[in-house]
């Protein structure tokens, strides 16, 4: 295994024992944990849904039915398309994009303030304060919002208490709680790449721009944002990916009438025991994620290494 893969002969460079450890660890990870499970899931998504005992039997054949179901609905349905699933899918993507944009807009001023305006001790304090909520379970953070937004929750009780409203506002039913929760859930994954990117900008560049008569807005548009581009792309990618694949927050906060796409997968998988269809829907989610990452890399001309550091 030589010179085609490595800069130096692998076993000679690391010594036999260590080289074997490296190989075993990496092969175990790449092959057994990453690649084979995904491939097997891909395979399963093209198979008919049969109980374990019937596997390999006549009922176990390759089929497109699960993907067809996603687009056209069940065979007994009268609709031309599977409006319900497609609707869930479209809404999930659309809301995820909105959440990503909202996160970017909310975080930019704070990231800029901490990176360039605040004095070092304030900045440290703010950063530590940002990290603390991040270490609290996503479920519990969503739960905190649920306490606020429930029909007899803190906000409704407060508002009725002071007489602003006389009937509870249905925050959960209208998914206001869900949207707030999704923005809340991954906001720090937008904050830190942004902060790191802006922090690395030389303050002299900002001052030079101001000195040359550039307005604040223009300075941001022409100097800070182009410099922070990798951070912005990184933050947006992470937030979008996590939002689109979120399960914990929707489980706690989504209204009973609406579903988030991963919840749909969960249903096929755990409740309807249709693993093949669950796999097919997973593949669809995976494809969307990959397309999004590739699109971000293409549009903003950044490398994958810059997105995840």
């Amino acid at each position: 295994m030589g010179n085609y893969l490595f800069t130096q002969p692998f076993f000679k460079k690391n010594g036999k024992a260590v080289a074997i450890y490296f190989l075993v660890a990496i092969v175990f990870w790449f092959v057994f944990l990453v690649i084979i499970p995904q491939l097997y899931m891909l395979d399963l998504s093209f198979r008919s849904n049969v109980p374990p005992l019937a596997r390999g039997g006549p009922q176990d054949f390759y089929t497109m039915e699960h993907y067809q179901h996603f687009v056209f609905g069940s065979k007994t349905s009268l609709d031309a398309f599977n409006f319900v699933d497609l609707g869930v899918f479209g809404r999930t993507i659309l809301v995820s994009i909105m959440v990503t944009i909202a996160n970017l807009l909310f975080c930019y001023p704070i990231a800029f303030y901490i990176a360039k305006i605040a004095n070092p001790s304030t900045a440290r304090l703010l950063i530590v304060s940002l990290i603390i909520p991040f270490w609290i379970n996503e479920l519990l953070r969503s739960f905190a919002l649920r306490i606020l937004f429930a029909n007899e929750g803190v906000i409704n009780n407060f508002l009725t208490g002071i007489g602003v409203i006389d009937q509870s506002i249905l925050f959960i039913t209208y998914d206001i709680g869900l949207y707030t929760g999704l923005v809340y859930a991954y906001i720090l994954l937008m904050m830190f790449p942004l902060y790191n990117a802006i922090e690395s900008l030389d303050i002299n560049q900002i001052e030079a721009a101001k000195d040359l008569g550039s307005s604040s807005l223009r300075t941001h548009w022409r100097i800070v944002i182009p410099h922070a581009k990798p951070g912005i792309v990184s933050g947006c990618t992470m937030v979008f990916m996590l939002t689109v694949g979120a399960l914990a927050t929707p489980v706690v906060l989504s209204s009973p009438n609406t579903l988030w796409f991963p919840q749909l997968i969960y249903q096929w998988f755990n409740m309807n025991d249709n693993w093949s269809r669950g796999s097919a829907y997973s593949i669809i989610l995976l494809i969307i994620s990959v397309i999004f990452v590739l699109a971000m890399m293409r549009i903003f001309k950044v490398k994958i290494g810059e997105i995840i550091k």
């Binding site: 893969l5 460079k13 010594g15 909520p133 479920l139 914990a248 991963p262 096929w268």
Partner: protein, 402 residues
């Protein structure tokens, strides 16, 4: 300069609102943990109590609402979470380290591909990693008959360790890559030149250098594992971890016991953060001192030895603590003044509720509607797929009422 003041004021307001958004829900939730009412709230304040941290309560209608100490499901969940965390740490740290070191050795043409494969798992949605692990191992277990493989392949804890390791290894990998970027490779060459074998170079030079990364990778891996839900909920099968217990509780109704749990976690987090910060500052100070001594020894010039007296300044932290104290005192006096604490208060509240119980039974229909909505239990799904909350088995998992 009025505009600058205005901008500064707006900025300050914005930062305040932002942090209020981050912390407000957590603070409200923490307060609800001390309210004895069975629905987490602040404004109809029943009694100040620690019951949700302890044994919970027996409700007026006979239901037992478990508190933190008396909830055995939660305890089981925590134990399996700890086991899984330990398993994930002991797999993902060595994997991440090996992958990061090998990254420095692959040819530059292959480096991009190798790096992309390594970070792919964090870009996969968590649910997918969970599902793919389960379907694969179910197949493997099916092949092996009834023996050991079948048991292992259907063991939720084992599957969860594997599934979490898949993407947590990437986080470890990234931590090691960052540390290795600053590694001076001539140190390896120097050690070799001095007669060390390659294995000795690894253990005496590289591993000691990577020690801080190993420590932080272990901590990160454990925390990510401990709080993971999306992957775990699939791979855990019939077992329960802390997060799946929490999720099934939240689904069926929100209880102040969860507030108590969250507050405990918040407190632990803050203690850990503060300890870490103190340790870090101490070691930094130590390093600075040793540097200072060296500089003083080296340059006897008086300029460095001159001491600067810092002007007196009120630290911001103290202001914050004072504010918190003021609010806490106000709250406490309110509670004491209105006699809203202690056993007598709780007894009175329960009595009142029991008397209302009959009344409530009469208006059962309307009550049912609201409660169902609150617990997220009403179903709106189409017939085509059952509702996510409509699964009867979920109610068996529910640990709140025993």
């Amino acid at each position: 300069m009025k505009p600058t003041y205005f901008i500064n004021f707006m900025m300050g307001m914005y930062i305040f609102i932002f942090f209020a958004y981050l912390f407000g829900p957590l603070i409200v939730m923490s307060i609800t943990a001390f309210n004895s009412a069975e629905f987490p709230s602040i404004s109809p304040w029943e009694c100040f109590s620690f019951r949700w941290f302890n044994e919970g309560k027996i409700a007026y209608d006979g239901q037992h609402l478990a508190g933190l100490l008396s909830d055995w499901r939660l305890h089981d969940g925590i134990i399996s979470s700890l086991i899984i965390g330990a398993g994930v740490v002991s797999l993902s740290v060595p994997i991440g380290m090996a992958a990061a070191i090998v990254l420095t050795q692959v040819r530059s043409q292959l480096r991009d591909i190798y790096y992309s494969i390594s970070i792919m798992p964090v870009l996969f949605p968590g649910v997918i990693i969970g599902i793919s692990t389960v379907v694969l191992w179910d197949r493997i277990a099916g092949l092996g008959g009834d023996g050991f493989i079948s048991d292992v392949g259907r063991n939720g804890i084992f599957l969860t360790i594997l599934a979490q390791t898949c993407f947590i290894s990437t986080y470890c990998f990234l931590i090691f890559v960052a540390r290795l970027q600053r590694f001076d490779q001539t140190q390896e060459e120097a050690a070799l030149d001095l007669g060390a074998t390659q294995t000795q170079v690894f253990f005496k030079i590289l591993v000691p250098y990577l020690m801080p990364a190993i420590a932080s990778a272990a901590v990160i891996a454990f925390l990510f594992s401990f709080e993971n839900y999306n992957t775990t909920v699939f791979s855990i099968l019939s077992d329960q971890t802390l997060t799946t217990v929490i999720a099934s509780k939240v689904r069926l109704g929100i209880s102040p016991a969860l507030s108590a749990l969250a507050l405990t976690i918040i407190a632990l987090t803050i203690i850990a953060a503060v300890t870490y910060e103190i340790l870090r500052r101490r070691s930094e100070k130590k390093y600075a001192q040793s540097q200072e001594i060296f500089v003083k020894e080296k340059a006897a010039s008086g300029r460095i030895n001159k001491e600067y007296k810092a002007g007196f300044k009120v630290p911001k932290g103290i202001v914050a603590i004072l504010l918190v104290l003021v609010f806490a005192t106000y709250g406490a006096t309110q509670i004491v003044k209105n006699d809203l604490y202690g056993q007598s208060c709780i007894d009175a509240a329960d009595k009142e509720k029991k008397s209302k119980f009959l009344e409530q039974l009469q208006t059962l229909e309307s009550n049912e509607l609201t409660e169902e909505e609150l617990s997220g239990g009403s179903l709106g799904g189409t017939e085509d797929y059952g509702d996510i909350f409509g699964d009867p088995s979920l109610f068996q998992d529910f640990g709140g009422f025993d």
